[in-house]
Structure formats: structure tokens, C-alpha cells
């Protein structure tokens, strides 16, 4: 329902106002009239009351209609103002209209009032409506412009037919064209990035041809080199037939593109990061418990195909969790999601191929800016490697602890800054006698436990290590709570930082109580042994593996008249006989190299300058690897024995000589015969010679031959005599190179008479080119003679074959063997062992010394003499001799 028309009436005559009111009422215009007749009241009403229409009298006692009009126009310009006057000139009326009056009605023609009011009101309404519309348009244009600016979107119209372009302000801005300039398609194409021009052209052509929408993303190259990304969208419209026009929008999507690119990149980084760190992320809807995000890596960690489209349900992930861990993990997660709390879990995953991986998962509710907690997000990290190295570390720590326990070695670290212990291993506690449960004691407490005698050295060594930033090594005793004293050997190493400052000392402590005790025992027994050795009458010395002189006992030092130091550093030439030194050195050298026990006889000079013979035995001491660590030398004074040997040798030589003389005595008849033979021959030859010379024609040729034979005879006789003389001679044993076959042949010459006497056939089987023997020719001949005579004697009283065979042949190991075999009575039964005994004889006139002496001679030459049975009868005597081949 329309409200009553509120009329402000400027009228000095109330009756006129009544009249107007009545008129309008009668016309059906419901109204409320407020009558004022002064300017102040008029103004007050204009400013204070709601007014729809002003009716003003022209002439008022204190006021006039034009002034009122002006006032009303200034205060309420939109309220219609109708001038109602009794008399109004044409000019006044025009002036009033000019000043903004809506209409004028003469009081005389009040019938016009109602239509005038109606028209005024209608016009006022229209005016107000138009104003509102204008305002709205203006505002919406401003909004659009603002929106275009904010969204970097401009609008355009393109009349394809005329080629005209209409651009919004933002479109101008996007293409960088001044607002006042007229855009053209040429300009647009100049702005489009050269690489995109063809594409744009093709898209436009296609759209126009098909009368279709188009949507083009292209780049714009600005004069300053800036490149923008533009999205142009347009739709065809047909304003009139035959005209094609596109209306559309262009958006600067450079920032969005960049943001997209950045997002894509950061997503790639994230994915790569997840892959590298083996971390997967996931998210689920808290209400539905539906998995709404699972990163590629997340699915990969769970052994689910990462490339498969769609996110697998929660259940598939849970199936991968180790059965033992599945239940607790699911419960924890469920509770955390329900309660909106964070969650943290360690669990194992069993992959389809059976490998097990260790995982660490965390989750928390995702609070969106709106405060909504509809999502729960989480991350799962593969910690297998860490876990395995943790296990390994724990294992190696366990091994170390075990090793420390077994070797009774503790490790520790000490800080020079605080002067306090920084770390003690368990074994360190144990070996120092502290309880690990109570933690590391203050350094002072530890020091108090150290034996008071050792405290200063520990402090001093530690101070020095700190001062010199050097190694720390100390031995000390420590009291255990049970009163036991343990020996500790501690070693420390300084740890310096990059600027060379001492940061800490780390080291080990070893319980050396047992070792120390063992060492003490060894030292004690060594001392005892040394004491004993010093008392021993034998000379004892210890050499190193390099023959360095380490120790010599009192007996040795006293004999040499040297102090231990003089003996150790002195030249052995000072006390070893010059004739023995070279021999000692060469022999020592070879035997030392072979590492064999050996002995040598040499002369050592005693305090009086006199040399005495010593037998020095070398014996190597080897370690468990068989390496020689020491040589023990034991020297025995054999001067007396040497003298006895010398005497014995002389006695033996005498005896041998006596044997020879005796033997020769026995052979006198044979020897005489042997000498007789050449002499007889010589006489005959002499007479024959004379015969050839006598007579009338002396045969000089024959005489000369006979004389030659005489020479031969005499030579033979002289040889025999020489040999006999040699055998009778009492000479010191000589050493020379001897051909044993020659010795055999010479011997046979002497004994031929004897063999002939007993009709014995003497045969020799001598191996040619036997190596020579170093020995005494006469003594060897004596041996052969003794054996041959024994053989002859054995056969002398026997009938049958009498054969004596002498053989020489090489034997093993560079020896040669000579055998004398007879066909005689053979060895005395069951007495065979005794034939070499002194004074044992089977002959009525024997001395019983022949075989005994022969054996001595052979053994003196380094050989062996023995007897055995000959076949079919008789005895064989064999002796061996070392040849020069063996000695070489």
C-alpha cells in the first residue's frame, strides 16, 4: 500500500493549504501536509522531515518563492517543487523552472494541481530510478574493471567481419597498449611470441571457419623482452546477419603458469626426496577412513604397484605389515585418528618376494586453515639400513665388550678441560674395581684408589701428556674394594681438534697382574738360573739369533779375564786363537745358517795369555714358530783331553810301528826271498852280460840288454828295501792324498813271497779311477798287510784252494771299500766279536794287536773295519775310507 504523500506546504494562508489538501484528497491523492510560512521553519522541515513534494506560494510576507526554490534545490534537489501562486508573471514562471521548479500552478486554475503533482511525482520517481540504474551501472563497471585488474583478465570484442577490436582497460594493459590507442589484429600478432604465431593463426582460422569457440594459450613478447603467458577464450556471437563477432576474455596466466611450474617442480622434488629418503606420505579421511593420498614412494615402500591408477584401500597396506606388528599398528593408528592425536610406530613390512623391511611411521591430524580436521596425514620411512647398522653396531659393541672382558682391557676417555673421566667401558669399571651401576667416579676418587706410591707417577704422566699433547703410558697398582691389589697398564692417546688443541685423551687399561706376576717369576728364575750358571764350572754363553753376544757366565768371563761388557762389545779375535778363528767363522756361519746344533774345538786365550783347547757346543733355542731366538754355547775345557788324545795318538803310532816291526819280523823269510829274487836275477844277468862280452866277438847288443835287466833287477830290489824301511820307520803320521789301488799293489809286492810260500793265489779286483783318500800311506799299507797276512795265515795249514782276493770299489756316500777275502778257516765261531779285541789271537805266535791296531788306523781315517764270513768258506775283512769326493 502506498504511503500517504508527504507534502511540505510553504503558505501563509492556511485556507489555501486546506484547499489544496482537499483538492488532492478529492483527486484520490492521499497526503499528509506540513504547512510552514517562514524561511527557518521551511529549512527545518527540509532538513528534518521526510518530504515527497514541496508546494510553495510565490509571494509570502517574509519570504519569496524563488528563494524557497533555491533553498529546496540546495537541500533536497530530488524532491519535486511545484510553485502555487495567485498571480505569477510569465517571466517569473520561466525563471522558477530555470531554477529547477518542477511545475507552476496558478491558484486560479487549481484544477491543474492534481495532474501536475502526479506528473511531478512520476518524474521524480523516474529520475530516482534512472539515477539508481546509472549508479548501479557505474558501480558494476568499476567492479568489473577492478575484477579484471585483480584477475589479470581483460575482455575484448572482435568483429571479424570489420576487423574492429574492442578492448577493456585490462586487455590494453595485458598487451601493453596505451588506452587511447586503437587495437588492431596486426598489433596483436606483433605482440604474440614468434614461435606461437602460427599456432594462434591456425586456431583462429579453424574457429572462424567452424563458427566455434576458441581457447588459446600463447606467449606474448613484450618490447622490454618480458614474456607473458596468455589465455584467450572467446565465443562467437551474431549481432546481426552476416556479421561475425567474437566476445571473449584474455587472462595473463604468467604467474599461474610459474606457480604451476613451481608446483610441478616442487612435487618432483618432493617425489625425488621421498624416493631418496625412502619416505612415503599418505593421507586419509578421518570420517570415512578412506585413503585419499598415497605418494608413489609410499606405495613403493609397501610393495604396491606405484604406477597403478587409483589409491589402494587401507587394508591393502595393512596386509603388507608383518603379522606380529599389524594388529598393534592398526590399533594405534585407529585410536590416534579418532582422538586427533599424533602417532608414531615402528613396524616391519614383508614384501611379496619375502624380504623384510623395517619402517618408521608418523602421523598427525591435518588442521586446515578453516580449523577443520577432516584429514589425517602420515609419513612412512624405510629405516632398514639404519636398523641393520644399529643391529651391527650393537653386535660389534657386544663383541668389543666381550673382547674387552676376555682380554681384561678397558677403554676410557678423560677430558683435560674438566679433569674428569668422560667415558669408561664396562670392563674399565671391572678392572679398576668400581661398580658400573654407580656411574663413573670423580677422577679424584679414582686416584685415591691408586696405590699411594703410584699416585705421583700417574699424576705426573697425565700432566705431561696434557702439557705435551703426547702419548700417555703408565703402570700403577689399584686397590679393589675387597682389598686386592691389581696391576694396571694404561695407555692413552691424545685427541686434538683441528686447531691442534687437546680435546681429550682416550686410551685403554689392561689388568696385567697375572702377566706381571709371571714376569716376576720369570725374572726370579732367570736370576736363579744366572746364579747357577755363574757357579757352573763350564763356560756358558748366550747369543742372539744374529750372533750378538748377550750373556756369558762367570766361568767364561773369569777365564777370559773380561767383564760382561768387554765380552759383549769386544772382538772375538782378542781371545780366539788366530789359527782357529777363520775355521770358527766359516763353520759357524754355515751351521748358523742351517740352524743346526754343532760343535767346534778351538783354543781360547786365558788371563795368563796361554791358550787352552775348548770344545764349544752350539745349541739353538727356537720359538713356537720354529724361529731361532737364541744360541746357547757351552764351552768345555778339553786341554787335558787334547793332551791325552795327543799322547794316545803317539802311543797308537808307537804301537802301530811295533806291530809293523813285529809283522816284518814274521815276514823276514818272505821278505828275504823277495829281496833275493831280484838279486839272483841280477847276478845271472851280470854273468850273462859278461858272457856276451867275453869271447872273440863280444855281442855288445846282447850285453847291453843284459845290463838293462840288471838295472831293472836292482831297481826292484831298491824299491822293496825302501818300502821295508818305510814300514820300519817310526815317523809321525802323515796326511797326503793316496791312491788306494797303488797302496794295494805296493803291499802285494812285499807279500808276494809270502803268498808264494804258501802256494796262495792272490788276485786283485781293483776298480780303476777311484777317488783318492786323504791319509797316511804307510798306515794304510799296514792295515792291508795285516789283513793279507791274516788271510795267508788262515789258509797256511789248510788243504784245497787257497785264494786270497783283494777288491777295491766305491761305496756309498763318497766312501770307498776295500775287501780282503780268503778261503781259510773262517772266523772263530761265536767269537767273531772278539777278533778286534786287544790281545785276542787265534795264532800261536800272534800278538793279538794286529786287527785292533788296524781298526784304530781305519777309524782314525774316518772309516770302519769289520769282518764277515766268506762263501763258500773263509773270512772277508772290509774297511771303508772317506774319499776326497765326500769331503768336497
Amino acid at each position: 500500500m502506498r504511503q500517504p504523500l508527504r507534502i511540505l506546504s510553504l503558505e501563509d494562508d492556511p485556507r489555501d493549504t486546506e484547499l489544496i489538501y482537499g483538492l488532492l484528497e478529492a483527486e484520490g491523492i492521499l497526503c499528509e501536509v506540513t504547512r510552514v510560512d517562514t524561511q527557518p521553519a521551511f529549512l527545518a522541515s527540509l532538513e528534518g522531515d521526510a518530504v515527497d513534494l514541496i508546494l510553495s506560494d510565490y509571494s509570502l510576507p517574509s519570504f519569496d518563492g524563488i528563494s524557497a526554490l533555491k533553498l529546496a534545490m540546495s537541500v533536497r534537489p530530488n524532491v519535486p517543487f511545484i510553485l502555487v501562486s495567485g498571480a505569477l508573471g510569465e517571466e517569473v514562471a520561466i525563471e522558477a523552472l530555470k531554477f529547477g521548479a518542477t511545475d507552476y500552478v496558478l491558484k486560479t486554475r487549481l484544477s491543474r494541481l492534481a495532474p501536475s503533482v502526479r506528473r511531478a511525482l512520476r518524474e521524480a520517481d523516474e529520475r530516482a530510478e534512472r539515477k539508481r540504474a546509472e549508479e548501479a551501472l557505474r558501480r558494476s563497471e568499476a567492479y568489473l574493471a577492478e575484477a579484471q585488474t585483480l584477475s589479470h583478465t581483460g575482455s575484448f570484442g572482435w568483429n571479424v567481419t570489420s576487423g574492429e577490436l574492442y578492448w577493456s582497460e585490462e586487455t590494453h594493459k595485458i598487451f601493453g597498449l596505451d588506452r587511447s590507442a586503437k587495437p588492431t589484429m596486426d598489433f596483436v600478432f606483433r605482440r604474440i611470441h614468434p614461435d606461437d604465431r602460427d599456432t594462434v593463426q591456425r586456431t583462429l582460422d579453424h574457429a572462424i571457419k567452424e563458427n566455434m569457440d576458441f581457447s588459446i594459450e600463447h606467449r606474448v613478447l613484450m618490447p622490454n623482452g618480458e614474456v607473458k603467458c596468455i589465455l584467450a577464450l572467446a565465443r562467437p556471437s551474431k549481432p546481426s546477419p552476416g556479421v561475425l563477432e567474437y566476445l571473449g576474455a584474455v587472462t595473463d596466466i604468467t604467474d599461474r603458469k610459474r606457480a604451476e611450474e613451481d608446483l610441478r617442480r616442487s612435487e618432483a622434488y618432493l617425489a625425488e626426496g621421498q624416493k631418496l629418503s625412502q619416505t612415503g606420505t599418505w593421507a586419509c579421511d578421518t570420517a570415512t577412513r578412506e585413503m585419499i593420498h598415497s605418494s608413489r614412494e609410499h606405495r613403493h615402500l609397501f610393495g604396491l604397484a606405484p604406477d597403478k591408477a587409483g589409491i589402494p584401500p587401507f587394508e591393502e597396506f595393512f596386509q603388507r605389515i608383518h603379522p606380529d606388528d599389524r594388529g598393534p599398528a592398526a590399533e594405534d593408528l585407529d585410536r590416534a585418528i579418532s582422538a586427533g592425536r599424533d602417532v608414531e610406530a615402528h613396524f616391519r613390512i614383508v614384501l611379496p618376494e619375502g624380504t623384510m623391511r623395517y619402517m618408521y611411521g608418523i602421523g598427525r591430524p591435518l588442521v586446515k586453515p578453516s580449523g577443520d580436521t577432516g584429514e589425517y596425514v602420515g609419513a612412512v620411512m624405510d629405516v632398514t639400513a639404519t636398523r641393520q647398522s644399529e643391529i651391527k653396531l650393537r653386535e660389534s659393541e657386544a663383541y668389543l665388550a666381550e673382547a674387552q672382558r676376555l682380554s681384561r682391557t678397558g677403554s676410557w676417555a678423560w677430558s683435560p678441560a674438566t679433569g674428569e673421566n668422560r667415558y669408561w667401558s664396562d670392563e674399565c669399571f671391572r678392572l679398576l674395581g668400581f661398580d658400573p651401576a654407580e656411574g663413573m667416579p670423580p677422577f679424584e676418587t679414582f686416584v685415591e684408589r691408586i696405590h699411594p706410591d703410584d699416585q705421583p707417577i700417574v699424576a705426573e704422566k697425565l700432566e705431561r701428556a696434557v702439557r705435551e699433547r703426547g702419548e700417555y703410558e703408565v703402570d700403577y697398582r689399584i686397590f679393589h674394594p675387597n682389598g686386592e691389589v691389581r696391576d694396571i697398564h694404561a695407555i692413552g692417546h691424545p685427541i686434538l681438534n683441528s686447531s691442534g688443541e687437546l680435546v681429550e685423551i682416550v686410551g685403554t687399561g689392561i689388568d696385567v697382574t697375572e702377566r706381571k706376576r709371571a714376569e716376576d717369576n720369570i725374572r726370579q728364575s732367570e736370576n736363579e738360573l744366572r746364579h747357577i750358571l755363574d757357579f757352573a764350572p763350564q763356560q756358558v754363553a748366550v747369543l742372539g739369533s744374529d750372533r750378538s753376544r748377550i750373556y756369558s757366565n762367570r766361568a767364561m768371563l773369569d777365564y777370559l779375564g773380561l767383564s760382561l761388557e768387554e765380552w759383549q762389545s769386544g772382538d772375538p779375535r782378542n781371545f780366539v786363537h788366530p789359527d782357529d778363528f777363520e775355521r770358527m767363522m766359516t763353520r759357524d756361519h754355515s751351521e748358523f745358517l742351517k740352524g743346526r746344533p754343532h760343535e767346534i774345538e778351538l783354543r781360547l786365550q786365558g788371563t795368563g795369555g796361554k791358550y787352552r783347547w775348548f770344545l764349544v757346543r752350539y745349541s739353538p733355542l727356537r720359538d713356537e714358530h720354529g724361529r731361532i731366538t737364541r744360541w746357547y754355547l757351552a764351552g768345555t775345557d778339553i786341554e787335558d783331553r787334547k793332551e791325552a788324545e795327543e799322547w794316545s795318538r803317539r802311543a797308537q803310532a808307537d804301537l802301530a810301528h811295533a806291530n809293523r816291526v813285529t809283522t816284518m819280523g814274521e815276514l823276514t823269510a818272505s821278505v828275504a826271498h823277495e829281496v833275493n829274487q831280484p838279486i839272483a836275477a841280477s847276478l845271472t844277468n851280470a854273468r850273462t852280460c859278461l858272457r856276451w862280452l867275453a869271447g872273440d866277438t863280444p855281442n855288445l847288443e846282447e850285453a847291453r840288454e843284459a845290463a838293462m835287466r840288471i838295472v831293472q833287477d836292482q831297481t826292484r830290489a831298491a824299491e822293496i828295501i825302501t818300502r821295508i824301511r818305510l814300514l820300519f820307520q817310526k815317523a809321525a803320521p802323515q796326511r797326503e792324498l793316496v791312491d788306494i789301488n797303488e797302496v794295494i799293489r805296493e803291499m802285494i809286492v812285499l807279500l808276494r813271497g809270502e803268498t808264494a810260500r804258501y802256494f796262495i793265489s792272490l788276485q786283485t779286483q781293483l776298480t780303476a779311477d777311484l777317488p783318492q783318500v786323504m791319509g797316511d800311506r804307510v798306515q794304510l799299507q799296514q792295515v792291508l798287510m795285516n789283513l793279507t797276512i791274516n788271510g795267508i795265515d788262515a789258509m797256511a795249514d789248510l788243504d784245497g784252494t787257497r785264494e786270497l782276493v783283494i777288491t777295491s770299489q766305491p761305496a756309498t756316500d763318497g766312501y770307498l771299500m776295500v775287501s780282503v777275502s780268503d778261503t781259510g778257516v773262517g772266523l772263530p765261531p761265536e767269537r767273531a766279536n772278539h777278533i778286534f779285541d786287544a790281545f785276542y789271537t787265534t795264532k800261536p805266535h800272534g800278538t793279538g794287536m794286529g786287527l785292533r791296531i788296524s781298526r784304530s788306523i781305519v777309524e782314525f781315517h774316518g772309516g770302519r773295519l769289520w769282518a764277515d764270513e766268506n762263501t763258500p768258506r773263509g773270512a772277508s775283512f772290509h774297511f771303508t775310507l772317506p774319499t776326497i769326493e765326500m769331503q768336497a
Binding site: N676, Q677, A680, L683, T684, R691, W692, R709, D713, F759
Partner: protein
């Protein structure tokens, strides 16, 4: 001398070559041909023993002795007048030798004249 024409020779058996050659030289100086042998076995093996007109042999030799040789020759009925020479004047052997047909038994050293006479006597038998 008729014997010489018979081309017979004197055999000398001695194990000592000096003695053998000395004997041979002596016999040659008186124009008697001689053949020498180092042992009785060698003499027997030579096959010339049947042609020997006279034998001078040492009694003691290694292997076959002079007496053994004489016995072997007797066994073959090859009776050669034999002169034994020995260094050892074994009387027992001397008798045994004479019984076996020895013409002379001379000691060493021998007397050349006596030896030659004995040879001559043997050749003339």
C-alpha cells in the same frame, strides 16, 4: 850238439818276470833256445810242453806249485827232465821232486854254471 838240431827248447816257469827273463838271457848266451811261462797253468795251456827238452821251474808259485806241475806232466806221461829252483831249501820237497823225476834242485840265488850244467845234463838224457 844234436839236441840243438832237434829244435827242442828249454821251458822256464817262474812267477817272477825278473827271474824268467834273467834265465832266458842266460840260456840264450849259451845258445839254448828258451820259452818262458809265468805259471804252470800257462805252460800246460800253451800245448808246447810235449816239445820241451828241459823244464826249469820255481817250486813255490801262487796257484799251481812246481811239484804240482811235475805231477801233472807225469800224469800226461810227459816226462820232461826238470830242474827245480827254490828259495827255501825244503829238504822234504827236494826228495819228493827227485822221486818224481827231477834232475836237479837248485836254491836261489842259483849258480849259473851249475844251472847250465844241469840243463846240459838234462838235455843229454
Amino acid at each position: 850238439m844234436g839236441v840243438q838240431q832237434q829244435a827242442k827248447f828249454v821251458a822256464v816257469v817262474d812267477d817272477d818276470d825278473l827271474v824268467r827273463t834273467a834265465m832266458q838271457g842266460l840260456l840264450k848266451s849259451v845258445g839254448l833256445p828258451a820259452r818262458v811261462y809265468a805259471s804252470g797253468e800257462a805252460f800246460l795251456d800253451s800245448g808246447h810242453h810235449h816239445e820241451a827238452a828241459c823244464l826249469i821251474a820255481d817250486i813255490r808259485m801262487p796257484g799251481m806249485s812246481g811239484l804240482d806241475l811235475q805231477a801233472r806232466l807225469n800224469a800226461e806221461r810227459c816226462q820232461i827232465p826238470t830242474i827245480f829252483i827254490t828259495a827255501h831249501g825244503d829238504e822234504a820237497m827236494r826228495l819228493q821232486a827227485i822221486r818224481a823225476g827231477a834232475v836237479e834242485f837248485l836254491p836261489k840265488p842259483w849258480d849259473d854254471e851249475l844251472l847250465l850244467e844241469s840243463v846240459r845234463a838234462a838235455l843229454e838224457r
